[in-house]
Subunit: 224 residues, 4 copies
């Protein structure tokens, strides 16, 4: 049990082995036991900066597609947190690691990076609000699951800061909110039995494809 | 019974008096009994030319948002019919009426015109494929209903060409296709009992607002 | 001189008499001299609440379409201000006027209201970032111009709160920011001589149509 | 000289070595000399079927974003050709190769496949019409360049059908049309000197990223 809500639980369950390929990827295990090469981590951070820009765009698209004021406000708060805080935090972490903001901005986006974020954007543009959330969920909630597990299981403090960020109370609280947003979005549109509707299969397929693209992102992280 | 499918029947039923305000608008009655001033009709034709451009864009958005190859093909065929045939037909009708193609292209779009088409576009961008169809349906199928009735009830031949276009077999066949597309789109996503889901109320509200904007379009037609 | 930047100045200049029809509309003059019927003002407030929701969506679309981090942050800050503050403020004003939040949420959106916001949304979806801003500008900056003038010229305190909001330093500062955002967005994409490019004519046409739709919004305000 | 227009020529010139990495990829050379394993070719055909669906969606988005009737008609004709003819052709080729239509529809989309098409879709949604075309151009026109060269340089007839399709007069004519559409779209918006505007750099970056994603698509083709 992740505690991130009913829908996430069910989507994850329907995803099959690709979920573990994501949350237990070699990159993740390297964060856990400190064996991840520093160069790979820095490469990941640079790509993640570009990622965050498109991630913020995707949450802004959530504001556009939301159906209630509460949904709008939840998405808007996330956009604002990403653009006003998370990006600055990221710039700070990178600065400590010797990567200047200019270097971050000059990062050439890798295909595996674009693949995930543009897939999310297209789900958002083409589908409805739940479709967008289903594409976003593997990232937000997967990181939460990874962070929580690594906080318990880490055998090295090399990447303790990263683990503390995603395993910590603040990010875990965000995951609970996003999980609740997904649950509510589905019920408000499709009723309580949404898992018996055809649309559910499409949402699970979206979640699975997004998860597969996250596996690609980690894999890219290993090959600077 | 219109014969345009289950969903249209139900949405129209949920729309209330605004439906009749649309399909029995003074403009429509003026087409029926020939009392519509020629100037109003020509003004309507000019605005309708601009309308058709955005209408084609909306159906193209349907291709973007469709979930199956059949849905894509149905929307694409409509776009192509509009751009490759309907527009040319329209240009021809206007030419006979003394309006040049240059004059058509120079038509300043009236607010009541923009109101409907942009509402449809935004439904399409913000919602899913059924939402887009729910916004398109009052136009496509309402014209079908109007054409069929006027063919039976007309007391003048002044606007017989217009009536023959929308009351005729070809357009009526299109209406049956679009009605079937809507029925199928809903069932493929929401199952057979979609009318019991919360999403149904939103679709009916979209259909009703689109109908109200069509009333505004007729009203504009009366005030060149 | 409005002080809202070069591009706004030029677009307004290219708009012709419809600009004055907007900023000197009878509704506006009624705010200035207090002659606007209370019922019309309350009706306007209710419609404006629905308007703000779509206005926030349009600014969120700005985040999606922005080309630089600064552009994203500017749009995101506006979305957040609208959803986290302005809406609450609006609810407060309406509460004082005897309109409950439930009543606000139940407001049926008028066609003239939908016409403007959906036009903006479609400009944003169909065009690029400057196109979206050109459609938003008449609202943001027109209200700034109206507020500033009414603060100087008002002959009654009946609507002093409304006038103080839009004529006051905070809103005027926002207008300067948005004007600068528009200037920068154009120069960053089209260079300093953007007014000599064909795209400029399209942007001015968008600005003009948006202004015309704002006239319709005021007109609607007079007819509860 | 490719004969596909000024803008393509210039964008290709600005792309650097990644262009050759695309049009002279091992997959392409394997088509030329017949050394491409049959299994890889069939795998490519299956993925290409999924690709065509999203490619048609992207051209439909072109209809939505076009600025003139001619632009709309050009995009619509392409959508229609893809959905009404190309898909059927593809199904036929696959059937001959022993892949049923059911198998095609069941193809699991590979990440490298999604990466390109969703990148194109997002360029279209976020940018203007030229941006969408800049993202589409490497595919349409690159295949034209490859087809034309392989028709001259092939040393085996194993993949003669494929080569004849893209090197043949019909596809080459399409390339000239699309090249002209791109030229016209740029000039109509940005004037004849568009290459001196800042927006040009962004368009070239889009073209380059799309080309890099096409390299990934060929690479995927080699790894069934």
């Amino acid at each position: 049990m992740t505690g991130y809500g009913r829908a996430f639980e069910a989507m994850r369950g329907a995803t099959g082995p690709v979920w573990d390929a994501y949350v237990r990827h070699d990159f993740v295990e390297g964060l856990r036991d400190g064996s991840l090469p520093r160069e790979a981590f820095l490469h990941y951070l640079r790509q993640d900066y570009v990622f965050l820009i498109h991630f913020a765009r995707a949450w802004a698209l959530g504001v556009v597609k939301a159906g209630t004021l509460e949904e709008m406000q939840a998405c808007s708060a996330t956009v604002n947190a990403l653009l006003a805080e998370e990006m600055a935090l990221h710039v700070g972490i990178c600065a400590e690691a010797g990567i200047s903001e200019a270097a971050l901005l000059a990062t050439e986006e890798r295909a595996e990076n674009a693949a995930y974020t543009r897939y999310v954007m297209d789900c958002g543009f083409s589908g409805d609000f739940p479709k967008l959330l289903a594409a976003l969920a593997p990232c937000v909630l997967g990181y939460g699951e990874i962070g929580a597990r690594l906080l318990r299981e880490k055998t090295s403090d090399t990447y303790a800061d990263w683990i503390a960020t995603y395993g910590g109370a603040e990010y875990q609280g965000l995951c609970e909110s996003v999980g609740g947003l997904l649950d509510g979005a589905l019920e408000r549109r499709y009723g309580a039995d949404y898992r018996n509707l055809p649309v559910w299969d499409g949402l699970c397929a979206t979640f699975r494809q997004a998860t597969a693209l996250e596996v690609g992102f980690w894999q890219m992280g290993l090959t600077p």
